[in-house]
């Protein structure tokens, strides 16, 4: 089995004269959580959308477990899932209905049992028959995470997954995702603006700015390597870098 869950090569996305992602290459290995960091507009969400197959790259390749999403879209997405703060599940369906709907689409075996496990795991048992639209934003995030875990994905994409959670719940979620990444043969790509969280969770970080990867390394040692005291300080420095021609 290949150690790489995700392999991105020379990925580029251009809208007219605007280059959103500028030929980036990176990998996510099994049992690894990789943080994708960068200021707003750096190209993080564009990159995630391309990996999810909802945005076609201008050039470059995306391989998930050695399968190219351009030619094996369904098979790749059966092994992938995501949760994003900007993609809540339909508010007019209950928690159970949403999980059943997406479980069928992802082809989850023994779906009822899997849903029960996730309802327990994400503390959603009391909300199972509640419409998602009336849940608090934190509860909706937990439902999105439960959806993201339905098919036990080999590649999990999380775009600011804890943005609307209180600190205690956010910590619980981080623990769960770390356990998930450690236990299975899975890789996680995680974006966040919370540098404390990134240091706590990620094994490796990629700093993205103006569509390019400027730095990468261990979030606990990277700041010192670049003469900064904290990851946040390093982030601000990278975010303020002028665009290179």
């Amino acid at each position: 089995m290949t150690p790489k869950v995700l392999s991105v090569r020379d990925l580029r996305k251009q809208y007219g004269a605007t280059v959103a992602v500028d030929g980036i290459s990176f990998e996510v290995n099994r049992n690894e959580i990789v943080g994708l960091l960068g200021p707003n507009g750096a190209g993080k969400t564009t990159t995630i959308n391309m990996i999810l197959g909802v945005l076609e790259p201008t050039s470059g390749t995306i391989l998930v477990e050695d399968l190219d999403i351009a030619s094996k879209r369904s098979r790749v997405l059966e092994r992938t899932n995501f949760a994003a703060v900007y993609a809540p599940l339909p508010g007019n369906l209950t928690v159970l209905q949403n999980l059943r709907f997406f479980g069928l689409i992802y082809g989850v075996r023994d779906l009822s049992a899997r849903i029960e496990t996730l309802l327990k795991q994400y503390d959603l048992l009391t909300f199972r028959d509640v419409k998602c639209g009336v849940l608090s934003s934190g509860e909706q995030t937990r439902v999105s995470l439960a959806k993201a875990m339905l098919n036990q994905p080999a590649l999990l994409l999380l775009d600011e997954p804890t943005a609307s959670l209180d600190p205690a719940t956010a910590r619980d979620i981080r623990i769960k995702i770390r356990e998930y990444a450690a236990a299975g043969e899975v890789g996680v790509l995680w974006t966040s603006h919370n540098m404390y969280e990134v240091e706590d969770v990620c094994d490796r970080v990629l700093f993205l700015s103006h569509g390019r990867i400027l730095l990468q390394g261990d979030p606990r040692t990277l700041p010192a390597t670049h003469g900064k005291e904290t990851l946040e300080e390093l982030f601000i420095t990278v975010a303020n870098e002028p665009e290179r021609a």
């Binding site: 945005l55 076609e56 339909p90 069928l104 689409i105 992802y106 082809g107």
Partner: protein
């Protein structure tokens, strides 16, 4: 590989939405019932004042029923699609293994279920209240329904493509489509009533063959059964074109990023 399970998930979602939602369930039968009652009394009135002995019930009421069935089929497809538009669910749905053919199949499955409710309601009403017997049309009733069903599906898919391309507000372009087509297909009058340029367009529209054939039976001047085959063949062409149209729009949306940012309506 096509997965019926994935397609059926779209249907299941629609079933969930209908549960306990009068706003979704009532329109399945209420508007067609109102149409049948209104046109039922109009035809009765026409029978009483014409004095010609011609029975308007099978020609007019039967035609209105068939036309309502067609519009329900089309709306069955579009309403299921609109659920994803209204709940801003495109990113969640299209970032899954679901293929476009499975998604469209799911829309069609939902349409079969919802249009069947309307059809049964109409059949019960016109038979029980206005004495319209569909035995009059014999076995041709099946190809009539099939030709209209396939055309409704094709137009529904085109309508979804239009909304996917132009954004949520463009759903207002969709509702009048049946009304725009109706003058050309001769729901209420023979095609010979139309000017030559309209008749030329009528020949390209499958429902024209259904309504001409229905009138022929009522007037005891049955036309060529091959005309219905031609209507069905046109349906197949429309279905292929509609699927190609939707796929092209979807590919454009994936290329430009519109799927991921659909609520923006356009990327300019």
């Amino acid at each position: 590989m096509f997965s019926f399970r994935r397609a059926s998930a779209i249907f299941l979602r629609q079933f969930y939405l209908m549960q306990g939602s009068p706003a979704r369930v009532v329109p399945l039968f209420a508007w067609v019932a109102i149409d049948m009652v209104t046109w039922g009394f109009i035809t009765k009135y026409l029978n009483s004042v014409s004095g010609s002995g011609f029975n308007f019930v099978p020609s007019l009421l039967g035609a209105v029923l068939m036309w309502d069935f067609f519009t329900r089929v089309m709306q069955g497809v579009t309403m299921t699609f609109f659920e994803d538009v209204w709940s801003r669910n495109f990113l969640n749905v299209f970032a899954t293994p679901l293929s476009i053919s499975e998604y469209i199949s799911g829309l069609v499955l939902s349409s079969i279920a919802t249009s069947s409710v309307g059809l049964v309601t109409m059949l019960v009403l016109v038979t029980a209240v206005f004495g319209l017997s569909f035995f009059l049309y014999g076995v041709l009733l099946v190809p009539y329904l099939l030709v209209l069903f396939l055309f409704g599906i094709a137009l529904g898919i085109v309508a979804c493509g239009i909304v996917l391309r132009l954004g949520p507000a463009s759903e207002w372009f969709i509702w009048p489509i049946p009304a725009l087509i109706s003058p050309f297909v001769g729901v209420f009058y023979p095609l010979s009533t139309l000017p030559a340029w309209m008749r030329a367009l009528s020949r390209l529209l499958p429902p024209s063959y259904v309504f001409e054939s229905m009138r022929g039976i009522v007037l005891k001047r049955p036309g060529s059964p091959y005309a219905l085959f031609w209507g069905a063949a046109l349906d197949v062409i429309f279905l292929l074109l509609a699927s190609f149209f939707f796929s092209a729009i979807y590919r454009h949306a994936v290329r430009t990023g519109l799927i991921a940012r659909y609520s923006a309506e356009s990327l300019s």
